[in-house]
Amino acid sequence: MSTKEYEHYYVPAQSKWPIVGAVGLFFIVIGAAALVNQFASGNEGLGAYGLTLGLAIMVYMMFGWFKNQIDESMAGMYSAQLGVSYRQGMAWFIFSEVMFFAAFFGALFYARNMSVPWLAGEGNNAMTGEILWNGFQSVWPLEKMPDGRETQGMPWTGLPLYNTLLLLTSSVTLHFAHVGIEKGERSKAKLMMGITIALGIMFLILQVEEYIHAYTEMNLTLDAGIYGSTFFMLTGFHGMHVTLGTIMLIVVFLRILKGHFTKDNHFAFLAASWYWHFVDVVWLGLFVFVYIL
């Protein structure tokens, strides 16, 4: 057979981290499930312990697994082909996240264009409006619900606008950090990365403030009808993604300080930055469809 040399694809040896991760997820699931039942019933229980244990195992797994990856990468065991696998894997993961948000955007779209107008009698639903929800008006934000409860819509001016500017700026600074890495200008990368992280944290602080404002002054809560449901579901999951993205950026920042990345080998940086840009784009969707329209 041919003696032509091929680069070996790196097939890792055995690893304990996947099974550790599976055990971690197991405890997270039973802990979280027990906890929400305790929350609903007001009973005492062990849910919080299960959840904490599960999270601790996951953190342990992540440290171990990522350390393993970084050591292997620094030892030069990875090939360019493996790098392509990582990039494609990350891209498809982000696509799955897009579809996750699509479910909630779909719910928002359906509520605004179908369920709320129909409840108020649009289309062939005149009797629904007349008999079931007499007097209910179809408006958005839905400040008065079919059953008569009231809330207030969150205006897009003020905090949401600032947050939009913060996130947009952070995407730009992150891009400059990327340029810095690619040109080998580490000090520029450090500076820009630091600014990006700071902007991300500021975004999160402002969002907490917005939530406090909504809960204490606007009666806009998770149980404030379909408006509150979609508002908190979309902004809440986005906020969780910003949090995760910020953690990723911080890890990447620490690795820049350690001098891990080179011009050609900085997949972790790339993955975190793709993720951050994705979170940014989702926010633009939120800003338009949740706040402005």
């Binding site: 197991f26 039973i30 499930a33 779909g106 179908m114 369920s115 062939n124 839905l142 079919p146």
Partner: protein, 528 residues
Amino acid sequence: MSTMTDTHDDHDDHDHKPTGITRWLYTTNHKDIGTMYLWFSFTMFLIGGFMAMIIRAELYQPGLQIIDPNFFNQMTTVHGLIMVFGAVMPAFVGLANWLIPMMIGAPDMALPRMNNWSFWILPFAFSILLASLFMEGGGPNFGWTFYAPLSTTYSNDSTAFFIFSVHIMGMSSIMGAINVIVTIFNMRAPGMTFMKMPLFVWTWLITAFLLIAVMPVLAGTVTMMLTDKYFGTSFFDAAGGGDPVMFQHIFWFFGHPEVYIMILPAFGIVSEIIPTFARKRLFGYSSMVYATSSIALLSFIVWAHHMLTTGMPVAAELFFMYATMLISVPTGVKVFNWVATMWKGSMTFETPMLFALAFVILFTIGGFSGLMLAITPADFQYHDTYFVVAHFHYVLVTGAIFSIMAAAYYWLPKWTGHMYDEKLGKTHFWCSLISVNVLFFPMHFVGLAGMPRRIPDYALQFADFNKIISIGGFAFGLSQLIFLAVVIKCIRGGEKATDRVWEGATGLEWEIPSPAPYHTFSTPPEIK
């Protein structure tokens, strides 16, 4: 041949088979992971099948005899969940793990450690789901489609366990699908162009895309269910401006592509098997690829045909009716191609071929009843009757499950190095074929006559048919034990399999020894 098996020693512990329990717990080997998936799937198949036996025992006679209605509902629910997420999907993932790297000349899956994580999530997720049956108030009892408000306002405390276990099953599926897609895009041997890939690889590529697109939507659905039930949101509650029908829209946006996730790899399997035993090349290879892609794309715009009786606007009813009927065009192309492949072939009828042939005929019956259900006015009569149950069991049992059986018989010699017992295999086939039709065919009749699905009791005029159905059910269940016997016997010994195994087999996996070495294609083969 030696260059194709593993000869490199980049690091220790790599070129020999690890032993003990950690071989399975820590593995990064696609063949080991594939084996675990397949055994897991078979275990779930038996558990889910046992639940079906309970259902059929209760329905053997009218009236309530064995179990109470709440437990009956839990059985139909968990039977469906186990079979869909625990039996059929993992079986296909197991086959993908075993076969895709060997078929495209790759040394392993692209991301082997993540591969192992995908698998090991499943036993935990299903333990939680099964354990929820024993919790106070019982397990999930709202049907495998968990429609709101049954699953929110009226569900029991174990619902949270159900929801979170679905979350991690979804994670497992997404990671598995990412692995498949990246493997196919990035790991093909030089010369293995897209249009040279075996159809099993093609169908799995498209399936993986569907999985990544819709499993997150399922995660979103159960998350909204969670917040509606526990945190007071109003997604599926009209009093707050939401709509229970919205649940159905979002669920079926996941659910319909999900149905194709369970059948596209079956198309791939059958497209591998029929050419081998007809000793001809597959007729219309490229049209198969395009047909599969069309089916996948159409699957995103037909979801509401599951809910034609929910009072949608007429325009929507018509759109979803016609879009659904459109699917029969690419599906017809496939069936035509399979038949044309056999035309004037020198056919032999070993067990894999028998299952593949039964697939073609019986899946087509399931497709036709699907067309009947797609007709909106007719669906008003058929909706939620046993006719629907008959329809989807024809496509899932005689479709998906039969294809998995066919695949197991077809590749078992490659996996174990031994030929399976052909006589026992044929016995399994004929027992399954006869009993499965006794089981599911009369469901068409009782369904058309108006027997509703998901009830523990029924009107007296359905008694005779239900007795026949139950007898068929028990016979089909018992027949699967023959399969277990065949597999165990084949693993333990038997006639030595040749490398090619089947006279007419083509493809890279038949070029390597039987059993397939622990590591294959460490250096990629040249594809001419």
